[in-house]
């Protein structure tokens, strides 16, 4: 059995009910979709299974909801995708599992307004000081002045 399948099987055994969707896209690429309540649980389980490297956290404005995607793994890249409702954009922070996650979470918070509960330093870090409160540039309803195409 391939390692991807082992990971998926073990996860299903541990947390079968909470995984909304599990997909092996190709060799070394796995996508797991969960509700936000189980996002941290899944990452913890993955870390216990030896997938101990968090590559990045991507925030996406997917139209009617947000998605927080944690890319974990060295040889295999597992994307753990949490679905976050737009009217209550909160999700558990994973800094206590992956210490280096702090900057990634802060970036997603600033750019999309997704609150990572438990991140001790969820403050302005990347945007200008005079950036207005509550304006999140990577949201789809934000229309930038820049970039204008050069003609």
């Amino acid at each position: 059995m391939m390692r991807e399948e082992e990971i998926v099987e073990e996860l299903k055994k541990k947390l079968g009910g909470v995984l909304k969707e599990v997909k092996i896209q190709r060799a070394r690429r796995v996508t797991i979709v969960v509700d936000r309540e189980h996002y941290k649980e899944v990452l913890k389980a993955l870390k216990d299974m030896g997938v101990d490297f968090l590559e990045a956290i991507t925030g996406v404005d997917a139209g009617d909801h947000f998605e927080v995607i944690a890319h974990v793994g060295r040889d295999i890249s597992v994307a753990v995708k949490a679905l976050v409702p737009k009217d209550d954009p909160r999700v558990d922070s994973v800094v206590d599992i992956f210490r280096g996650a702090e900057l990634y979470e802060r970036e997603a918070w600033e750019m999309l307004g997704i609150v990572f509960e438990g991140n001790p330093r969820l403050r302005r870090a990347f945007l200008p000081e005079d950036w207005p409160e509550g304006v999140y540039p990577l949201r789809k309803d934000y229309r930038p002045e820049h970039p204008k195409p050069l003609r």
Binding site: R121, W131, P137, L138, H146, P147
Partner: protein
């Protein structure tokens, strides 16, 4: 009594604009804060307004030195998204260019490292030999820095026998010189005095703080995307993952020297085993990608580079995310730059420690910031206080 020592935004230790705010007690650094907000363009948002082909031009300009890594990552990402694969010959050509870029990047860094510890003649010598590689890149792609060699569906130019011969010849010379520099860097008492046990980052710290690339490998974390998640032709071209367990600046120097030697072998192997056939397939300049998402990773000279793309079926990416190696290494750098326990960091060691991650500020900042006037990492003094261990 502690006082604050600003280094930057314009400062001789680093040509790129960055502000390092050090809190020092006498000669010892007790705290550090980084502000990298001086160079940035909001590329992630900009990419959402560009077609996939236009995006390639923008991606290449995230960074001059690692433009090959960015463009390689972008094209394999988009090719996988649209379900087209470049022909085998193109994969080998991409590998050759990627490794040439790694050699020139590592030699550039080795020169700068020599400069940062005050070894100016070594800096000049290494930069002279780096020119040999720059000439090869120019001969192969037509450009010295922003190569514009990778395109969606393959590469822009083929490589003929005359050029292959030229590459072999020049690389023999580079290898001979690199072996000599390796000897110097291993044995020279000045180099050792300035780098051994300086900028310590233990294996567990490197794992916890999610360090990547030569920084991780010098701390005995065996992680190299080329070996762990092979892309282009890396599953066919053999190489060794260089790992050192000294956990200091000296280890980071040696990892890079040895990687130059490995890269030379890889290029020579790829030239000998180059498949024949086309070097690109035709992909129309404007195309619609099927809805979906994809992750691509490459081993840039500075470490793992990750690109993520989401498509909604239009001709532009719905979301494009770039996580550069320098961003991943920032937390680890701040750890290295602080005195902790009996590991004292002196002001005089700041340049070489900060330099030892091979920081690429324009990569990091340009990717992170979404407006033209941004500031970065403003509250790090506090976040560093949390990490203090003394």
């Amino acid at each position: 009594m502690a006082f604050y020592l600003p280094v930057g935004p314009q400062h001789p230790i680093h040509p790129e604009a960055i502000l390092l705010k050090f809190k020092v007690e006498g000669e010892q650094v007790v705290d550090v804060d980084i502000d990298a907000s001086y160079v940035h363009r909001g590329i992630e948002k900009a990419l959402e307004y560009k077609t996939y082909t236009q995006g390639l031009y923008l991606i290449e300009r995230i960074c001059g030195i690692c433009n090959v890594a960015h463009s390689t990552c972008y094209v394999i990402n988009i090719e996988e998204l649209i379900g087209k694969e470049a022909p085998p010959r193109a994969q080998y050509l991409r590998l050759i260019l990627e490794e040439l870029a790694r050699i020139h990047s590592h030699l550039l860094w080795l020169g700068l490292a020599a400069h940062l510890i005050g070894f100016e003649s070594l800096f000049m010598l290494i930069f002279r030999d780096r020119e040999l590689v720059m000439d090869l890149i120019e001969a192969m792609t037509g450009n010295r820095v922003v190569t514009a060699y990778n395109v969606i569906g393959g590469v822009r130019r083929d490589l003929d026998d005359a050029l292959a011969h030229k590459i072999r010849e020049a690389l023999e010379r580079v290898r001979e010189r690199t072996r000599y520099y390796r000897k110097v860097l291993m044995e020279d008492p000045t180099v050792r005095a300035r780098t051994v046990d300086v900028g310590y980052l233990s294996t567990s710290e490197a794992r916890e703080l999610l360090a990547v690339g030569p920084v991780a490998r010098a701390s005995n974390v065996k992680y190299d995307v080329r070996a762990d998640d092979p892309y282009i032709a890396h599953d066919e071209v053999p190489f060794n993952v260089v790992v050192y367990d000294t956990c200091d600046v000296w280890g980071r120097v040696m990892v890079r020297v040895d990687e130059v030697l490995e890269a030379i072998d890889m290029i020579l192997y790829a030239l000998d085993h180059m498949p024949s056939g086309d070097f690109r397939i035709k992909v129309p300049p404007i195309f619609r990608a099927p809805p979906g998402e994809n992750v691509a990773r490459v081993e840039a000279p500075r470490g793992e580079l990750l690109h993520y793309v989401r498509s909604d079926g239009s001709d532009k990416p719905y979301r494009y995310k770039v996580r550069t190696p320098t961003l991943a290494n920032l937390m680890a750098t701040m750890q290295m730059l602080k005195s902790r326990g009996d590991r004292v960091v002196y002001v005089a060691d700041i340049p070489i420690i900060f330099g030892s991650i091979d920081p690429c500020i324009c990569c990091t900042a340009r990717v992170l910031i979404v407006d033209e006037r941004g500031r970065v990492i403003e509250t790090t003094t506090d976040e560093l206080a949390r990490m203090k261990r003394w």
